[in-house]
Symmetry: C2
Amino acid sequence: MQIAVVGATGAVGQEMCSILAQRRVPADCLRLLASARSAGTRVPYAGTDLTVRELTKDALAGVDFALFSAGAETTRAFAKPAAANGTVVIDNSSAFRMDSDVPLVIPEVNPQDAHQHHGLIANPNCSTIIMAVAVWPMHRVNPVRRIIVSTYQAVSGAGAAAMQELRDQTRRVLDGQPVEPKVLPHQSAFNVFSHDSPIDESGYNTEERKMVNETHKMFHDNTIRITATCVRVPVLRAHSESINLTFDQPIRAQKVRDILEAAPGVRVVDDRAGNCFPMSIDAAGQDEVLVGRIRQDRSDPSGCSIALFVCGDQLRKGAALNAIQILNLLTS
Amino acid sequence: MQIAVVGATGAVGQEMCSILAQRRVPADCLRLLASARSAGTRVPYAGTDLTVRELTKDALAGVDFALFSAGAETTRAFAKPAAANGTVVIDNSSAFRMDSDVPLVIPEVNPQDAHQHHGLIANPNCSTIIMAVAVWPMHRVNPVRRIIVSTYQAVSGAGAAAMQELRDQTRRVLDGQPVEPKVLPHQSAFNVFSHDSPIDESGYNTEERKMVNETHKMFHDNTIRITATCVRVPVLRAHSESINLTFDQPIRAQKVRDILEAAPGVRVVDDRAGNCFPMSIDAAGQDEVLVGRIRQDRSDPSGCSIALFVCGDQLRKGAALNAIQILNLLTS
């Protein structure tokens, strides 16, 4: 079996390589591809070195599964030709996520959809994955009618360069030097700002619309009313989200806790006495979405609403890990 | 007129001195008080130096207005005796905020309450002030029925030591060194965590309950249904808040924008095309609460809900400035 990682030198591509190595995928099954600029880079892999090759149509020939994480442009140029050549593409970009003939899959949520593919499977947006892994097990028991979510998003969502920019800027601010944002549009060091994706006439940005539309698609339910406020915080690689849920029927916080404790991909971290709840540094590098602050939403007297707080690693479950779990679904 | 700043060496006390100097309060009207540990400290003030004296009952003798910001314990020990001696105490702690005979005041919201005092006036919690300044002008036009708020709180709320801890920890993380939280219970550098105040059996922490109870008291309306999720972020001194509001009657985003543009203490920062909205570094050092991301909440088909995002300086409007505005109310 030949697996290609497209965008192998990016933050998500590197995380994919790390997970594939942990899962003992042999180096000779792996083809690392990237832009011409990165071609020739040597990447350490499972005790050896792999050379990154330039992404071309030929470079994908004979590949069984291609994990794309090189942006929507690259996907648009290379994914469909590769699929036509027999490669199954699992794509981390937003290029085809909402296409009706492309399954959008979180293995804990809608694994059955993965098998309906025509050569292309989309990996959802990171914020959406982290929310959906936590919300889905409750939705199965008591349908969710409304979601109000506010995010605390790590800069890793804007790639490795944004992570380095946060480190560099932070040092400059500590040293009293001026900063000049280049990767992200605003200073990320010691700052909080609205997500830097374009805003439409409704006032929502693209990241927020993804959380709505992708959740609808994966849950197979367009009637769930969802509003999101997406915000960047000076954190390197884990997203946090404050979520208020309204269910069809009254539900108790203890019931939610029981459901989540039995749910795949979730770890309940909810120690009220110790004031210990999900936090970014604990979620970083972890596979599970951490869920805590589970409580009855006191602003809804019907008893149908629950508030909670989640953290998940943007690069792992938010991107690389989910893509590899889809690969596993198709090969196991 | 004699004004005392109690807790003069703390983060809020220092901000009070800075604002009093800007307002040209003469140095000989000012008495700086703090714990025995800080007594003797020289504090620069309007081109001169003032010596901090130890807070004692005698040190408050003859003081007309005392701005307390030294924690609830100090307030409990010194505020009522001072008030009994004729000093009007404006207290930044939570000690007496919910007492029925102590007005809790934001000058933009309920200035009339300030005049009902019996020697003690309470300054609200910082997160509550920043939310209330933005919400009140809308509430006057179309009563708010439900508030769902998630905060992004600066470490300054835990004092100057927490601000220094964030700087020190951040440098250690950048240098690859281990960190050991001392002021805040968790690592604040590059991390997001649930507010470190105690949690009750309902699952809400003290900070969140303050946002509910203090808003009810100042708005003179206990029927507003409020839920808060309070979270700390690695920011030095401005709090941000993602707020979803449900009004009694349908309301349009443009109407909200018009109301807020005419509201005191508010600056609308809502440039969708330029992706320019309120952010922590722009709010820091400013008097106004910045409000943006004003949009119809798409999860409420009734048209009664609005989403927005606010930022305000925790040390200024969230604490020191509001206290001095109360002082101005009483003396003008």
